[in-house]
C-alpha cells in the first residue's frame, strides 16, 4: 500500500496542479478506471448469478469479493480522485466513502420510501388520488388510535426498560467474577427467532382453568401462592400490553448490554480509581464519571431501541395477532398493507412512522454538533 500511494504521488507530480492537461488526464483515467471496475465487477456478479457454484463456495467467493472488491473499488476510485486538481479531489473525497452505500440505500430504500409517500395519497388500489383521506383514517379510526397509543407506551416503557436494564447489567457484569458467562445468558434471547419466542413465552403466560395443571410459569407461581389463574395476555387489558413488552425487553436488553459493556470498558481506570481514592461512593462514580463518559453510546443505544420499539411487530403478531387491544403501529400497518391489501392506508401508516422519528433525528444531530471539528 505504501508503494501504491508513492506511485500516486509521483504520477500527480508529473502534471501541474491546474490546467487542461491535468483535467484531461484525470477525466480519461477516471472513465477508464470506472469502465474497468464496471467490467470486472459485472463479470464477477454474472458468475455469482449464474449459479454454477455450491452455496457455500459461493458465499466464500462473495465474502472475498465483498471485502477485496470493495477495497479495490475504493482504492481505484481514490486513485481517480487524486488525479484531479487538489481543490476538486478534496471535494470528491467523501464520495469514495459514502458513494457505494448511499447508492444502495437510495435504490433499495429511499426510492421505495418515496413511492410509499405517493401511495399514501392514493386509494386502496393505488389508482385514484384521495387527498388526505388515508391520514384522516389513521388519526381518527378507533383501533388505529388505540394502536398509536400503544406504540407510544411501547416506545417509552420498552426503551426505558431495555436501556436501564442493559446499563445495569453491563455495570454489574464488568464488576462480577463471571462476566463472559453472564453476558451469554443475557445475549441468548437475541439468537432466538420470534417464532421460537412465541413458544417460549407460551410456557410463561399460558392459562389453564383452575382445576387443571398450570403449564404457564406465571400462573403456576400465582396459584401456588393461592391466587386464581390469570389470563395475562388476553383479558387483563390494558396490562396485557406490558406483558408483551416483557418479551421485547427480554430480547433486546442483550443488545443494549453488549453496547454498554464495550463503552464502559473504555472509561479510563485512572479516573475511577482517583474518584475512589477521594472517597466517592460507587453510585456517585456511576453518575459523575461513567454516565458522562458513555453518554454518546447511551444516545446511540436509546435511538436504536426507540426504533425497535416503534417497529415492534413479531412480538405482538405471534402472541395475540393484535387482538385484545394489543395492536401497535407495525401490526396495523401489516394488516392494512398486506392482509387487507390497502396500499393507501398502509402507506399512510408507514409515513407516520417516518415522521415520528424526526425528534430522534434532531436529538442525534444536535449531539453531533457539539463536537463538530
Amino acid at each position: 500500500m505504501k508503494s501504491a500511494s508513492g506511485t500516486d504521488k509521483k504520477l500527480i507530480g508529473l502534471f501541474p496542479d491546474k490546467g487542461v492537461l491535468r483535467w484531461l488526464v484525470a477525466v480519461i483515467s477516471s472513465i477508464l478506471i470506472l469502465a474497468l471496475n464496471f467490467f470486472v465487477h459485472v463479470s464477477i456478479l454474472k458468475f455469482i448469478v449464474s449459479g454454477s457454484l455450491q452455496p457455500l463456495l459461493l458465499a466464500i467467493v462473495a465474502i472475498i469479493w465483498g471485502v477485496v472488491g470493495v477495497y479495490s473499488l475504493h482504492h481505484s476510485l481514490n486513485f481517480c480522485v487524486s488525479l484531479y486538481p487538489y481543490e476538486w479531489s478534496q471535494r470528491l473525497q467523501h464520495l469514495i466513502f459514502i458513494g457505494p452505500a448511499i447508492t444502495l440505500l437510495i435504490w433499495l430504500l429511499l426510492l421505495p420510501a418515496l413511492r410509499t409517500f405517493r401511495l399514501s395519497f392514493l386509494d386502496k388500489l393505488g389508482e385514484t388520488f384521495v387527498g388526505l383521506e388515508n391520514y384522516k383514517y389513521v388519526f381518527t379510526e378507533r383501533t388505529m388510535v388505540l394502536a398509536l397509543q400503544n406504540t407510544v407506551i411501547w416506545v417509552i416503557v420498552g426503551t426505558l426498560s431495555c436501556v436501564s436494564l442493559g446499563l445495569l447489567i453491563a455495570i454489574l457484569a464488568d464488576r462480577s467474577s463471571y462476566e463472559k458467562i453472564a453476558k451469554i445468558f443475557i445475549f441468548m434471547p437475541i439468537a432466538v427467532s420470534f417464532v421460537a419466542a412465541s413458544v417460549i413465552w407460551k410456557f410463561i403466560y399460558a392459562y389453564s382453568p383452575t382445576s387443571d395443571t398450570q403449564i404457564g410459569l406465571l400462573n403456576a407461581i400465582n396459584t401456588a401462592m393461592g391466587g386464581e389463574p390469570k389470563a395475562w395476555l388476553t383479558m387483563m387489558q390494558p396490562w396485557n400490553n406490558y406483558f408483551l413488552m416483557a418479551i421485547l425487553v427480554w430480547m433486546m436488553t442483550g443488545f443494549a448490554m453488549v453496547m454498554f459493556s464495550a463503552a464502559i470498558k473504555n472509561v479510563p481506570d485512572e479516573s475511577i480509581e482517583a474518584a475512589r481514592v477521594d472517597g466517592a461512593s460507587e453510585i456517585k462514580i456511576f453518575f459523575a464519571i461513567i454516565i458522562p463518559y458513555i453518554k454518546k453510546t447511551i444516545l446511540a443505544v436509546t435511538t436504536s431501541i426507540t426504533i425497535f420499539s416503534m417497529r415492534v411487530f413479531d412480538a405482538v403478531w405471534v402472541m395475540t395477532g393484535g387482538q385484545y387491544g394489543t395492536d401497535v403501529i407495525a401490526t396495523k400497518f401489516y394488516k392494512e398493507y398486506f392482509t387487507f391489501n390497502n396500499s393507501g392506508t398502509g402507506s399512510a401508516i408507514a409515513m407516520l412512522l417516518l415522521v415520528a422519528i424526526i425528534p430522534v433525528i434532531i436529538m442525534n444531530i444536535n449531539q453531533g454538533k457539539e463536537e463538530e471539528y
Binding site: I102, S208, M235, G322, N341, N342
Partner: protein
C-alpha cells in the same frame, strides 16, 4: 458539490441499467417459445389429443412448471411424490414451492414479473382478492364448462366464480378439500353412556344436558390461534347461519347485503351463545375458551378420564388429536339442524389451483389438466392426507373408513357453502369479524355491540 454527487449517482445508475440490459437479454433467451397450436381453442382436444395426453407423449419434456402453495410437512412430501411420478412419465420438471404466506409472496412475485405458473390458495377469500386485481386467468378459457362439469360437481364450480376486472371468471379448480360442519367425539365415552347422535338442535341440547348430569363437560372450545386468533368462532357463526337462514340469505350475508345487525344474524349469535357462554357446558368457561389454542382444545377429549366430549371443527382437526388416538377411537356427526327447513348444509373449504395470468402455456395446461383428475390426489388419498372433490376419484382409494365417510358426507351433503368469513372482504373476514368475536367471547362487548363492530368492517 451537489452536482458531483448526482453525477456519481447517475453513473452508478447507468451501470445498473447496462447490467440490467445484459441480463434482460438472457431472460428473453430462456423464455420458451410459444406454441402456436394452443393459442386459442378450448384446450380440450387438439389434433394430437389433450394437453395431458401430449405431455404423456413426451411433447413437453424438459419444460418447467412451477406451483406455489401453502401446504407443507407430510402433505408437501406426498404431493412432491405425486409430482415426481408425473415428471418421470412426462420428462417434465414440475416443481412445488411452499410459502407460509401465499397471498403476500404471490403478490410480490407477480408484481415483480416473476410469478409462478399455478398458484394454490388455502382460502378462497385470498383468491378472490387476487382475481379482483387481475392476477388470475379464467380457467374456463383452458377447459370447457362441459369438461369441468364432468370432473367436478356443479356446486364446486359455482364457488370459484369470482369477479375480476373484466367480469366474472372461473378462478380455479378444486384440489384437496375439507368440511367444517363436523362435531367430533370420543367413541368409548359415547358408547359407555349410551349417548345417541343428535340430529336436531333440541337433541343436541338434551345430549349436552345429559352429559352435564353425568359429570362431563360437553364441549371443548379454543379461540387462540396466534395472528389468526378468532377464526374458530367465525366457523360456528357460519355453520349456524346455514341452519337459521336460507342459502340465499347466507349468500347475501356473505356479500354484505344482509347486515350483521339484522335479526337473522343475531339469531345465529343467540344460538351460539347458548353453548359458548354456558359455564356448565364448556370446559374452562369463557376465560378458558379465550385462552385455549384451537389445536389444544380437542386433546381434552382424550385425557383419562375425558374432560370434555365434543368439539365442532373442520376435518383437519384430526391432525391435532394425540398421536396414540386412531380413527375409530373417535368419530364425527354433522352439526345438527336448527330449523328443519334448512337441513344440515355443509360448510366446506379447500385448496384451489389457479392459473396465473400470463402463464397460459401448453405445458402449464397439461399440468392443470392433470390436477383436474383424481389421479393427482391419489397418493395423498391413499395415505389419508386428502379428500378429493373430483368425480373420477374412487372411494376405495381412501385408506381409512374415517376419510371415506368424510368424502361421502361431502359428496352427499344437503348443500355446500364456503366458509363465509373467507369470502368477505379481508377487512371483515380477517379483521373486524375476528376481533368482534374475540371481544364478544371475552365479554368486552355485548351481542349488539359486537354485531355493530363487525359490520363496521364493511364500511371501510
Amino acid at each position: 458539490m451537489k452536482k458531483m454527487s448526482s453525477l456519481f449517482v447517475t453513473i452508478i445508475l447507468l451501470m445498473v441499467t447496462v447490467l440490467s440490459g445484459c441480463a434482460g437479454d438472457k431472460i428473453s433467451e430462456v423464455a420458451p417459445p410459444t406454441d402456436e397450436q394452443v393459442v386459442e381453442g378450448n384446450g380440450e382436444v387438439t389434433s394430437e389429443g389433450t394437453h395431458l395426453e401430449r405431455a404423456y407423449a413426451g411433447e413437453f419434456s424438459g419444460q418447467t412448471v412451477t406451483i406455489m402453495g401453502a401446504f407443507g410437512d407430510n402433505l408437501q412430501l406426498l404431493f412432491e411424490d405425486t409430482l415426481r411420478e408425473f415428471n418421470e412419465k412426462t420428462q417434465m420438471n414440475v416443481v412445488y414451492e411452499q410459502s407460509e404466506d401465499v397471498p403476500t409472496t404471490f403478490g410480490i412475485r407477480f408484481d415483480g414479473g416473476n410469478a409462478p405458473d399455478i398458484v394454490s390458495f388455502p382460502q378462497p377469500g385470498a383468491l378472490r382478492e387476487q382475481v379482483g386485481r387481475g392476477r388470475i386467468a379464467n380457467i374456463e378459457e383452458v377447459f370447457s364448462r362441459d369438461y369441468l362439469e364432468q370432473q367436478y360437481g356443479s356446486s364446486w364450480l359455482d364457488m370459484t366464480m369470482m369477479e375480476g376486472p373484466n367480469g366474472v371468471i372461473n378462478a380455479g379448480i378444486w384440489q384437496n378439500v375439507n368440511a367444517k360442519s363436523f362435531v367430533w367425539y370420543p367413541v368409548a365415552e359415547f358408547e359407555e353412556n349410551g349417548y345417541e347422535i343428535p340430529t336436531t338442535w333440541d337433541e343436541l341440547i338434551a345430549l349436552s344436558d345429559q352429559m352435564v348430569e353425568d359429570g362431563y363437560y360437553p364441549w371443548t372450545l379454543g379461540l387462540e390461534s396466534g395472528a389468526a386468533t378468532g377464526w374458530p368462532a367465525t366457523d360456528w357463526i357460519e355453520d349456524f347461519m346455514l341452519r337459521v337462514v336460507s342459502l340465499e340469505d347466507y349468500d347475501r350475508w356473505v356479500s354484505g347485503d344482509l347486515e350483521f345487525a339484522s335479526p337473522e344474524v343475531k339469531k345465529a349469535f343467540d344460538y351460539m351463545e347458548k353453548i359458548w357462554f354456558n359455564e356448565d357446558y364448556v370446559y374452562g368457561g369463557r376465560v378458558g375458551i379465550v385462552n385455549t389454542n384451537f389445536g389444544d382444545a380437542p386433546k381434552l377429549m382424550f385425557t383419562e378420564p375425558a374432560k370434555a366430549l365434543m368439539i365442532k371443527q373442520g376435518s383437519f382437526i384430526q391432525d391435532f388429536f394425540p398421536d396414540e388416538v386412531e380413527p375409530g377411537d373417535y368419530d364425527f356427526f354433522i352439526t345438527p339442524s336448527i330449523d328443519e327447513a334448512y337441513g344440515q348444509p355443509l360448510l366446506v373449504g379447500g385448496d384451489t389451483m389457479s392459473l396465473v395470468e400470463g402463464q397460459d402455456r401448453p405445458e402449464v395446461r397439461a399440468v392443470l389438466e392433470f390436477l383436474t383428475t383424481g389421479e393427482s390426489l391419489r397418493i395423498l388419498i391413499e395415505n389419508g392426507a386428502a379428500i378429493s372433490p373430483h368425480q373420477d376419484s374412487d372411494l376405495t382409494w381412501y385408506n381409512s373408513d374415517m376419510n371415506r365417510k368424510i368424502a361421502e358426507a361431502i359428496l352427499t351433503a344437503d348443500a355446500v357453502r364456503f366458509d363465509g368469513s373467507d369470502l368477505m372482504p379481508a377487512e371483515v373476514g380477517t379483521g373486524s369479524f375476528w376481533t368482534g368475536m374475540v371481544d364478544w367471547v371475552a365479554g368486552a362487548t355485548n351481542t349488539d355491540e359486537a354485531l355493530k363492530e363487525i359490520q363496521s368492517g364493511f364500511n371501510k
